[in-house]
Every structure is written in structure tokens, then in C-alpha cells.
């Protein structure tokens, strides 16, 4: 409390206190609270401004192409013709590949880390899996170009072609190994640690009394997992998968490096392709026209909407508990 107060400052302080919540006892409290509120407001404003800037930047393309942009398959900057279809297809396919491979793998890892590994192993392998998430995407992309793509082209693609070529999805390998499939594999590497870490945390929250009750009924470890652990964590794991999906949808750099910057929709996964995020990363630096920039913003707008929707779905599924973490 200040030691010297004038009548007017006392009156001001009294007036201030009368409008503050009763927990505030002094001007210092009000100032701190004000700063915190300001910070919160800034955070909210940033989010709103992001939406505004993206919509604003996309405006020329929106007014030019409308919703037809979503279905148009051409992307020819030199001719002023732009359409998102190739990118949307690529985004969907790479994300699906990543989730299909990553989800069972990540859940298995999470089960290993929470229920099956001895304590000494857990302490080492757990952080190692989290380290995998810390590798920057640019390094993964570079590594992919030099190591993964040639490997895919030389070994994996021919094998898949031999075994599953009849489906039409796995055609003859291309020369570079840069393909939708390779991009999907690198996305898997990025998504697995996210789903695995979140799922492991969830498995560890299953009350001990439930797992003990199941064990006391003469159940094997797998039966305990199948009957108690997985059912009780189902919605949380689903939310974790949604978050992994969000990551896959938005990943630009690693995918840009490995997807081959294609322009056509192919059924064959070993052909090149493109995703919305990758196209933005690849073409934003040297656009040939303002329309191209606006079209890239239009792609970003689509990404923004998809990103928000997956996030909201994840929140809705896991409304009981907080799935996000600060370290992944």
C-alpha cells in the first residue's frame, strides 16, 4: 500500500477497487491482471488475424475461381490456370498412407512402453521415441532424398509391385523414388512419435484397480490390454490419431522434398504428386504472377479450414481429458 495518498488518488483507488473483482486488493493486482488479459487478447487476435490474412490473400483467386477451384485439376502458373484437385488428392492420399501405417505401429509402441517393457528399457526407449519427433522436417526431407527415396525405389517399390501390383496402386517404380508413397512414408516417421507418446500417456492413466481386477480373473497380458486398457482409452487414442492427422495434413517441407512436385493425379502411388502444403512451400518464393500467389493463399485457406476441423474433432472426441502435450 502506498504511504502517501492524496484525496484524489484515494478516490481514484476506491473507484478502481469498486469495479474490480473482489480478489484484487491493489493497483498492482489490477495491473498484473490487465497484462495477463492483454496477453490473452493478443493470442486471440493473432488467431483471428491469421484467418483474416489468409482470406485476404486468397481473395483474388476466390473471386476468380470460386469453389470450382477445389475440383479443377490444372495448375499451370504460366497460363493463369489454377486448381486444387491434384493437391487435395495428394494431401488426402499421403495422410491416409501415413495414418494407416503409423496408427497400429504407434499404438504397439505405446503398449510396449506402458505395459510390456521392463522398467529399465522403458526409461531409455521412451525418450528415444520422443527424440524422433524432435527431428526437424527439413532434415528428414533431406535424408529422405538421399537415403530413403533411392532405397524405396530399389527395394520396396519393386517388392510391393510384385506382390500387390494387381491392385493398380503399386505400379512399376519410377526412376527417382520421389513419389506419393515415399512422401507418405516420411509422414509416417513424423506422425508415429506423436500418436505413440500421447497413447502411452493415456495407457498409463488406466486405473491400476481395473488392470488388477482383470489379471485376478486369470487373463493373459494381451487379454487385459484388449479387454480393459484399449476400450477405456479408445476416445483418447482416437483424438491422438486426429492430432497426428493434423500434423500430416500440414507438413510441407519433408513432403515437398519427397513427393516429386507432380501435377497430375495418378492412381499409382509410385508416381509423383503434390500436396497443398508442399505446393505452397515450393512456389511461394518465386511466383510468376499475383494470381499464383493468391491461388497459393487459397490453398492455405483450405489447409486452415481442414486444420481447424481436425483440431475441433480431436477436442470433441477427448472432451473428457486434455490430449495435447507441450513437448511434442
Amino acid at each position: 500500500m502506498s504511504t502517501r495518498t492524496t484525496p484524489s488518488s484515494r478516490g481514484a483507488a476506491r473507484a478502481l477497487r469498486s469495479v474490480l473483482p473482489s480478489s484484487e486488493r491493489s493497483v498492482g493486482d489490477a495491473v498484473l491482471r490487465g497484462l495477463c488479459v492483454l496477453a490473452g487478447v493478443i493470442a486471440g487476435l493473432i488467431l483471428i488475424d491469421v484467418a483474416y490474412q489468409v482470406i485476404n490473400g486468397a481473395r483474388p483467386a476466390i473471386s476468380r475461381f470460386g469453389l470450382g477451384f477445389l475440383g479443377h485439376v490444372e495448375w499451370a502458373p504460366n497460363f493463369g490456370r489454377f486448381g486444387a484437385a491434384v493437391m487435395l488428392y495428394g494431401t488426402a492420399v499421403t495422410s491416409v498412407i501415413a495414418l494407416v501405417i503409423a496408427t497400429p505401429l504407434a499404438i504397439a509402441i505405446a503398449l510396449y512402453l506402458s505395459m510390456l517393457a521392463p522398467r529399465s528399457v522403458r526409461v531409455i526407449v521412451g525418450p528415444l521415441v520422443e527424440m524422433l519427433a524432435a527431428i526437424p522436417s527439413v532434415i528428414l526431407g533431406f535424408w529422405g532424398i538421399i537415403i530413403l527415396a533411392p532405397f524405396m525405389q530399389a527395394h520396396i517399390e519393386p517388392a510391393l509391385h510384385d506382390v500387390l501390383g494387381f491392385t493398380g496402386l503399386f505400379g512399376a517404380p519410377q526412376t527417382t523414388g520421389l513419389s506419393v508413397f515415399t512422401a507418405g512414408v516420411i509422414l509416417t516417421v513424423m506422425v508415429v512419435p506423436i500418436i505413440a507418446s500421447l497413447s502411452r500417456d493415456l495407457f498409463l492413466t488406466v486405473p491400476r484397480e481395473l488392470t488388477e481386477g482383470a489379471e485376478a480373473l486369470g487373463a493373459t497380458r494381451w487379454e487385459v490390454i484388449r479387454g480393459v486398457v484399449l476400450p477405456t482409452t479408445f476416445s483418447g487414442v482416437s483424438a491422438a490419431v486426429m492430432l497426428g492427422l493434423g500434423r500430416a495434413l500440414g507438413e510441407a517441407i519433408a513432403v515437398a522434398s519427397l513427393i516429386g512436385a507432380g501435377n497430375v493425379i495418378h492412381k499409382n502411388l509410385f508416381q509423383t504428386g503434390n500436396t497443398a502444403a508442399a505446393r505452397i512451400a515450393l512456389e511461394i518464393t518465386y511466383p510468376v504472377s499475383n494470381l499464383q500467389t493468391a491461388s497459393l493463399f487459397y490453398l492455405a485457406l483450405i489447409l486452415l479450414v481442414i486444420g481447424i476441423v481436425t483440431n475441433l474433432i480431436a477436442r470433441a472426441i477427448s472432451s473428457r481429458f486434455d490430449v495435447h502435450r507441450s513437448t511434442v
Partner: protein, 305 residues
């Protein structure tokens, strides 16, 4: 009562040896199979990590030398060192952290100390932070592009900092919240009982207790942001290789974009330098990560968690 008679189907001899009876042998085999698959999955993950780290070290180490770290790259082409990129990255990341940390900590303080439980403002803010955390980094890059680069018609290092700050903000806010919530209730009650003002209690008692946790959360967020390429590509992608500290209205060389440009150029002569940069970047990030987690684990052990 009929419940007293053993049913025909239970059919096992309780006095027999305690080895698997009935279908247990098969069920145990299934359980063992699952355990094997789970172990294999973990092995795959560790091998993947090892493969990436090994290649980065194997290809980056030959490029490393004292010269490499203290000389600048030539204006174009391969060779030279990466000093300007290292300093540029450090600059951009540091300014980003300076922007994000106060904002993040203040929002965390609001959510933990001031917002009433389940208040509208609290829920809205939490959702805003969640959404921000889920924004694709290209979208953040384009946002800053529209905000800062288009009006200035120039890439700038500062724009890069702003973009990284947006990436760091929700992470710092979240980890700070977690740490603040761990501060024992008794400390707050004691300050209250002594008649200490809220702001003084927060600044002199609660924050210092939470400080190390907030610090490690910030370091982890910084490590995460230091590797982000897409936003920098968009708002700080065109730069000369010269060392510069001028980040306002002027592009600053940085490691992630350097690596990406070299990778995409597909000119193998540029790869050596790129691997060297990758090694420096990865080493920095992994060391920060490991250090922060070890510190966090030690703090947790000390607090008896």
C-alpha cells in the same frame, strides 16, 4: 441350491500341476505374439531414429571444422562455412523467444491464477491456444507474409521471428500452465493468509517456484521452432549469404532454408555444406531436448512426483 454343484463345463482339476490348462497354452502364445510385435515396433522406431542420426553424423562430420563454423559461405555456390547462417538462426530464434515467452507466460498466469474455473474467457483462450498449436506452419508463414512482408515488399528476419513466436506461443503457454498448476496450493494460501497482494505473491513466490519448469518449457519450444523451415521459407527465404544483424526489413540467412535450398537444388556439390548445417542444427536441437528433459526429470524427482 443348484449353484453349489460344479458345472460340467468348468471341467478342470484344481489339484493338478500349476501349468497351463485348457486353452491357456494357446492364449499365452497369442499374448507372446503380441508382445513380440510390440517389441518389434519399438525396435523399428529406435532403428529409424538411429538411421537418421547416423547418416546426419556420417555425412555432416566431414564438413565440420573450425573454419566451417567461423567463416561465411560464398555469395553463391558450395563451399565455405556457415557462420552467417548459424548466427542468423540464433538471432531469429532468440527474438522469437523474446516475443513469445512473456506472452506465453502471461496467458498461462491468466489461465491458472485469474480465470475462474470454467469461465467463458478461460475456455475461449484455451481453445484459441489449442487451435494455434494445430495451425500448419505454412499457414503461419503466409499470415506473417501478408502482415509484414507484403506491405514492406521485402523478406525480413524479423518476420521470421514473428512466425516462430506464433509457433512457440501455445507450447510455452501450455508448459507454463502445467508448471504453475504444480505449485502447491499451500504456498498460495500462505501468501493469502499473510495479506500479501496477489501480484506480489505471483511475482515473488509462485513464479520463482515455477521458474525452472517454465525455463525448460521455453527451451523445448525454442528447440521445436528452431527446426521450422516453412515459415522462414515464406518470409525470410531470399537472402544473401552475408553475415548480417540487420533483421528489420532485411532477410537474414538461416540454417533451415539453407538446407532446404541445397536439397532442392540437387547439385551434389552443395550437399556437403548442407549436411554440415544439418548436423549443427540436429545436434543443437537434440542436446537442448535431452538437456531440458533430464533437468525436468530431476526437478520432478526432487518435488517427489
Amino acid at each position: 441350491m443348484s449353484t453349489d454343484q460344479p458345472s460340467e463345463t468348468a471341467g478342470f482339476d484344481p489339484t493338478g500341476p500349476l501349468t497351463p490348462s485348457g486353452n491357456l497354452r494357446r492364449r499365452l502364445a497369442v499374448s507372446r505374439l503380441i508382445r513380440g510385435l510390440a517389441t518389434l515396433s519399438a525396435v523399428i522406431a529406435v532403428i529409424a531414429l538411429g538411421l537418421v542420426v547416423y547418416v546426419v553424423i556420417a555425412r555432416g562430420a566431414p564438413a565440420l571444422s573450425l573454419d566451417f563454423l567461423i567463416k561465411d559461405p560464398p555469395p553463391s555456390g558450395p563451399g565455405g562455412g556457415i557462420r552467417s547462417a548459424i548466427i542468423g538462426t540464433a538471432l531469429i530464434v532468440a527474438v522469437g523467444a523474446v516475443l513469445a515467452t512473456p506472452l506465453g507466460v502471461l496467458t498461462a498466469i491468466y489461465l491458472v491464477e485469474f480465470a475462474r474455473p470454467n469461465s467463458l474467457s478461460g475456455r475461449a483462450l484455451r481453445m484459441a491456444l489449442d487451435l494455434m498449436q494445430g495451425l500448419p506452419s505454412v499457414v503461419i508463414g503466409l499470415f506473417v507474409f501478408g502482415l509484414l512482408v507484403k506491405p514492406e515488399k521485402a523478406d525480413s528476419g524479423f518476420a521470421g521471428s514473428v512466425a516462430l513466436a506464433i509457433i512457440m506461443l501455445p507450447l510455452i503457454a501450455r508448459s507454463s500452465q502445467e508448471v504453475l498448476m504444480l505449485v502447491p496450493r499451500t504456498l498460495r494460501d500462505a501468501a493469502d493468509a499473510l495479506g500479501v497482494n496477489r501480484w506480489r505473491a505471483i511475482l515473488t513466490v509462485i513464479l520463482p517456484t515455477a521458474l525452472s519448469g517454465i525455463l525448460t518449457g521455453t527451451i523445448l519450444a525454442v528447440a521445436r521452432a528452431a527446426g521450422e523451415t516453412a515459415p522462414l521459407l515464406i518470409v525470410d527465404g531470399i537472402f544473401t549469404n552475408q553475415l548480417t544483424f540487420q533483421m528489420f526489413g532485411h532477410a537474414v540467412p538461416n540454417i533451415p532454408v539453407s538446407i532446404f535450398t541445397a536439397a532442392e537444388a540437387a547439385d551434389p556439390t552443395g550437399f556437403t555444406r548442407a549436411w554440415g548445417e544439418a548436423l549443427v542444427l540436429l545436434a543443437g536441437i537434440l542436446i537442448a531436448n535431452i538437456g531440458a528433459r533430464l533437468f525436468l526429470a530431476r526437478q520432478r524427482a526432487r518435488m517427489g512426483l
